[in-house]
Symmetry: C2
Subunit: 418 residues, 2 copies
Amino acid sequence: MPTNGGGAGGTPDLLPVAEARSRILAGLTPGAAETSPLAEAIGRVLAADLAARLSLPADPVSAMDGYAARSEDCAAAGSSLTRIGESAAGRPWTGVIGPGEAVRIFTGAVVPDGADCIILQEDVEASSEEDGAIVSIREVPQKGRFIRPEGLDVTAGDIILAEGTMMSARLIALATSAGHVTASFYPRPHIGILSTGDELVSPGDTPARGQIVSSNATYLSAFVSACGGVPVELGIARDRPGAMLDALRAAPVPLDLVVTTGGASVGTHDHVVDDLSSTGTELGFWKIAMRPGKPLIHGRVDGIPLLGLPGNPVSSAVCANIFLRPAIARLSGSDHAPEMIAARLATGLPENDRRQDYLRATLSHDDDGLPQATPARQQDSSMIGVYANANALIVRPPFDPPKSAGDMVMVLRLDPLL
Amino acid sequence: MPTNGGGAGGTPDLLPVAEARSRILAGLTPGAAETSPLAEAIGRVLAADLAARLSLPADPVSAMDGYAARSEDCAAAGSSLTRIGESAAGRPWTGVIGPGEAVRIFTGAVVPDGADCIILQEDVEASSEEDGAIVSIREVPQKGRFIRPEGLDVTAGDIILAEGTMMSARLIALATSAGHVTASFYPRPHIGILSTGDELVSPGDTPARGQIVSSNATYLSAFVSACGGVPVELGIARDRPGAMLDALRAAPVPLDLVVTTGGASVGTHDHVVDDLSSTGTELGFWKIAMRPGKPLIHGRVDGIPLLGLPGNPVSSAVCANIFLRPAIARLSGSDHAPEMIAARLATGLPENDRRQDYLRATLSHDDDGLPQATPARQQDSSMIGVYANANALIVRPPFDPPKSAGDMVMVLRLDPLL
C-alpha cells in the first residue's frame, strides 16, 4: 500500500524537507570497500583510516642553504671549520661530521650524522666552493635551528587520513608522499536513471505537437557524474502497466539507487503505484513542504532504494540538489550538507505560504562587496531557461513574513557544475 | 638568454603575482573547436553561441488542471459548457474548440486551438469525468490566465548560451530541451606533467636515504583532471643535460602546455637553463613576489608554452592554484578568477614583508556564523601535511601591517577537489 508521508490525521500533512531528507538517507549505505589507485581517487571516499608508511621528512633535513656542523665547534664568531663534503637534495653526504668539520648543505638535503646546527651561507666566509675550503663563521648558529627534524610533518605509523575522507588532489599528494600508491575506497555508487511519460521524446528526435524533449535523464546523468556516482541510463518508460518495472529490471549492472522522474502525475500515477506496489515493498508518495517539488516517491524496488523525482525539469533539478546529492554522498561513504550563505535581497518578496520555497536567483555582490541575491522575475517551475541561468536558490522557510529589498535571506549556492 | 621578470635595474625586482599571471595567460589560446555530445559536456566550454532549435514551450500549455474553453462562453458564473475531449501532457486534443465547448486539460498539456482561457477544476461543477459531461462554471476565468504562451521560456532561434560558457548539468538540460544533442566546444587541453630531480623516486618505490617519493606529478595529474584538462604524465627527468628536453619530446600526444616541477634549484638549474635555452626561445626565470613560490620558469619549448613550478610540493601546489588553474581555464576557452572572501582572523599575524603571502589556514565560522580564518601554526613550506589539511589560504599583500585576532583578511578558498 502506498503511504503518505505526513502525520496520522485524515488529511496527510506536508512532510518537512529536512525530515524527508533524513528518511531518504536512513536507507542508504555504501558498498563494500575496494582497493584502488590513488592516482584515480579524486572525489572518492576512504573506506579505512590510512596510516603513513614513511615519515616526512624521513631524516633531519636543512631548511636553508649553508653549512652543517657541530654546534660545539661554532661557539664563537671567528671559528674556522674545514669543508669535507656536500649534501644536496637527493645526494646526501653519508659520513659522520667530526670536530672542526663542516659539510656544505642545501635546502631539503639530509643533515649529516654528527651535525646539530646549520650555519647560513650568508653568515660565513668560505675560501672556496671546493672540499677542503676553510669556512670562517661570522655569526654563531643556534643549535637545531634551520633543521627540520625527522617526522616534523608526518610520522610513519600515524593515521594521516580518516575513514570517510573525500580525496582531493592535495590529500592524494599527502598519501603519495607518505608512501601509498593505493588505498581502500568505497565504490562509486551506480545510480539508475529512468524517465517516465508518453510526452517525452529522446534527445535528437523531433517532438510532435504536445511532446517535449526528455532532458531530465541527460541532466541527471551529468549531475550524478559530477557528484562522483556512475550514471546508468535506463531510458524512457511509457505510460503502460509494467513498463517501469521492465526498465528497472533491464539494468545492465547492479544498482545502488534508482532515480525516476515523472510518474506521479494524472494518468501515469496508477501504473507506477501498481508497478511498484507489486514488488511487495512499502512505497511512499510524499507531499513535501517545498516548492517547486511535487510528490516525491520513495521506497524500494526489488530491494533497491528508489527515489522518484517530479517530471518537471525545474522541480526535478531542485529536488536533485536537495535529496539526490546527499543520497549519492551517503552511498559514497561521505556526507553532503548544502552550503547556505546569508545574502541581502535586491528586491522585496511577498509572504511565503506553508511550503519551503526555493526561488531561482542570481547571487552577486553589492557595492559594499557583500553577497546580494536577486530573485528571477519569473518563478514558473516550467521554465528551465530561468533555472539554468540561475546560480543560487533563495530558500524561504514556511510562513516566512514579507521581505523588503535589503533584508537578509538564506541562499543555497548552486554548484557551478550542477 | 634567460630573462628576469623584474624591472630594468641592476638587481631584478620581484614580479608581482598579478603581473606574472597576466604574462602567463597572454601566451595561451584554446584549440580548434570540435563538435561533441552534450551528454559528455559537463565542465566544457562552448566555442560558439548556441541558438534554440525549439521554443519552450513549443505550444501554449496549461499551467493548471481544469478545462480549456473560449472566454466569451464563460463570461458569467453559472454558464455551462459541454466537455468534448481531454488534453493531457503528451496526449494533446487536436480539434478546435467551438462555442459552448470545453476540453478537460491537465498541467503541461497543450491548450487546444480555439481556447483562450483555463477554468480551474476547483471552479467548476462537472456532471462526470467523461466526454459529454456538462461543466458548470462557478468562478469566471480570466482570459489568458494559467496559459503559458509558446516561447515563454525560450524562443526558437534565440541565442540561449554564449560562446565561452562553461557547461553545467543545468545548462546541458537547457540545451537538450531546446533541441540539441551536440554542440561546438573547445577541446580539453592536454597538459604535459614532468617532474625533475635526482632526489625523486616514483610512487611505490622505496626511497633511499635523502630521497623522497615524487608526489607532484600525482598531485598535478589529479589537479589538471579536476580543472577539465587532460593530464599527460611525462615521468621524472633526472639531473643530467638533455633529460628534460628528451622527456618533453617523448610526449605521446601534442601538448597545449607543459608543466614542470623543480629544476630551478642548485645543481639542476644549469641543465634546465641549457636545455631550454637550446631550443632558441626566450625563457624567463621569474622571482615572484609571493611566498611560498620560488622562481617560476616561463617560456616556450618547441613552441609549446611551458610553466615551471617549484619542486617543493607545497610551493608547487600553491602556484598551481594561482597560475596553472587560470592557465587551464584560458586554454579551455574560459576564465578563472580565484574566489576571495573576507574573513576574521582567529589569531594575530606579524607584519608581512615584500612578498605576497599565502598562509595555509582553516576557514570555519565563528559564533556569529561569520567566516573565520585560522592560520596553521606551522607555515613551513616543506610541510605537505599542513597544506593537505588546509581548506583555505590567507592572502596577505606585500607589506601588510601586523594583524590582531578579529581583524579582517582576504582568504582564497581551496577547491574541495583541488
